[in-house]
Chain length 374, copies 2
């Protein structure tokens, strides 16, 4: 008897894999899991190209799309005020001076003039400004069976549009209170994310959070456990806690199919679990990432405080364009969870999925044997 | 087939319960678990009284003793330099002034002159200064089957004395590297403690930490999972991760048998999982505790930084004697893990043990059913 979420989505294993890379998404779904494309960075036109590619490479298996639609943010929630060029006016000059001095100290040259002029992409804000058009694009693809919002419950009209198209709506949360609000807003699948997770995360650990969320949403709402899950023992643990499946992200950054920047892959494979930090330095909201000269600088009480989302994302985006270009290792952090300590080599996606399943089965049998008569 | 640690200790369930209260220790062992007395605060003579009481109330079941023996600390590691009166000289006057101002702000009166004069007890340092005599006392009690050190591996002569008496030696750790060092030092049982745990804890979550520790120490060394464990689903999860048992502490603070201070019990039952903080404000080392006016004040960059262990413990001890006496709720934090959010009522110890076992069995069966044919 598979968990109900497997039946609902028509998948073999309750392994949900978040990735910005279409190759990884397709490979996970082909292997029997459920790939979810992190589509934040794609314009509606580009998203159409990505999804068409996945459709062709997924052997008819279902997959999902993840966006980051905020309920509200600076710039009065949209319109011209929310354009990066207008938002930039809200950033104090002292912050830019601090960033310039920091990058100078690390020997990072300014961007060439032709790159400098380009407007920051919305993705640099870590929120979506074109979400309705993106959703419209996604819903045209019948293999897209779930839409997940990384910033809590999406607006009601988006939930309705998904439901009309037979698409499940999921949302990430970090506390039982938020889980309850999401379900009240019409969310179908709660992704409960522990503090050990990569990217935006709350304070409560997965071990503590999952039973609390499961109890608050009740037996009819599937909960996926996120944070700290990279292998089959952790998958078995998450299911023991009451989750119907696992939501994974970090482990796909270093698979063979991933298009992660080479400097980042190197840093990720070298990192221990203690090398991550929950910091507002990347997006303005607390997000777990590799500790770097960038996070350290923003933590120093002598320096300016990070600005709220989406302003800090604009600052980070500009700086990251400079230091990524020069392959600087010290400044190059990456959103990743504590599971990074278990990521020590590049493996094919299919192998990661299948070895997770194998270890899950072993752990389940071992657990059962502890209760068997001698 | 029970986990090997159950056979080694002669216990029914692999539930290890840390408590400073002898009533709780005896009740857990009587219920089939393994109570462990946190003996830090007891002089050797007092410890003898406590252990004799447990012997009489434990129905012949085994139990353990936990101390906090540091490998090294300020004051050159012992001798007269380590006496609280001499250590106090190392505390800057500005720290005392800050504490006095803070307590004044909260309307806490000074201690009456007769109490003020009393030397701080070693327990106020959160380290043991009389550990060898304490161990000697403990080893005279044949039902004491395990000694656990809260500050990593104890000195070699203590490990040898325990082994000569047929007593297992356990030690707490927060990273795979420390686990490896402990086993090399002769520790028999590794208590791997996630960041969600109460009291001293590392940064890595239980979900991530346990498989790493299990893999590094190998199959012959029992690992107990600590941090975030308060119910049977969490127990099943911990065993799925590869632990042989669970080490619990926070949940025993509010059982009917506990002698926890009434203001603290009230604060604990009201707290959510987000109401704890990992702070150096209590002992000088990062320890998870209820967020309080005390922790907030020490976090403020405007104020002095906490001093290293054991000096901060001296400061905290003096302040706590003042604000505990007046039942002040704002300043009264307590070492506790994130599981505090699930502690919402006072229950008898036996009921907590047995409901944990019941939920563990249910979770194991549910996990097995996910793999059964439809």
């Amino acid at each position: 008897m598979k968990p109900p979420i497997c039946e609902k989505l028509g998948i073999e294993f309750p392994i949900f894999a978040f990735s910005h890379c279409r190759d990884v998404v397709a490979a996970v779904s082909r292997a029997g899991g459920f790939g979810v494309l992190g589509a934040l960075a794609f314009s509606p036109d580009q998203l159409e190209i990505e999804l068409a590619w996945i459709d062709e490479h997924v052997d008819g298996r279902p997959y999902g799309v993840d966006l980051a639609i905020p309920m509200k943010y600076l710039g009065k929630g949209g319109g011209d005020d929310a354009l990066p060029t207008n938002l930039e006016k809200l950033i104090p000059e002292a912050h830019w001076q601090f960033v310039d001095a920091l990058l100078d100290k690390h020997g990072i040259p300014p961007l060439p003039a032709d790159l400098e002029g380009k407007a920051a992409k919305a993705a640099g804000l870590n929120v979506d400004l074109e979400s309705r058009a993106q959703i419209e694009t996604a819903l045209k693809h019948p293999l897209v069976k779930m839409f997940v919002n990384a910033l809590g419950p999406p607006p009601a009209d988006i939930i309705d549009a998904c439901h009309d198209a037979g698409v499940l709506v999921g949302a990430l949360c970090g506390s039982p209170r938020h889980a309850q609000k999401q379900v009240e807003a019409g969310v179908d699948v709660v992704v409960a994310q522990g503090t050990e997770a990569g990217g935006h995360c709350g304070e409560i650990s997965t071990m503590v959070l999952i039973p609390q969320v499961v109890d608050v949403v009740g037996p009819d709402v599937p909960v996926l456990a996120a944070g700290g899950i990279g292998g089959g023992r952790q998958m078995a643990a998450a299911l023991a806690l009451g989750a119907q499946g696992v939501w994974t992200g970090s482990i796909w950054l270093t698979v063979a199919e991933a298009d992660t920047h080479e400097t980042a892959v190197q840093n990720l494979l070298e990192a221990k679990s203690t090398d991550t930090v929950r910091s507002r330095a990347m997006t303005g909201k607390p997000a777990r990432q590799l500790r770097s000269a960038w996070t350290e600088a923003w933590e120093d009480p002598e320096n300016p405080d990070p600005l709220p989302m989406p302003l800090q994302g604009l600052i980070y985006n500009k700086a990251a364009r400079r230091f990524t270009r020069t392959k600087n290792k010290e400044l190059n952090g990456w959103p990743v969870g504590q599971i990074v300590g278990a990521m020590d080599r590049v493996r094919p996606t299919q192998e990661v999925v299948l070895s997770m399943v194998e270890e899950w089965v072993e752990a389940t049998e071992r657990l059962g044997s502890l209760l068997a008569d001698d």
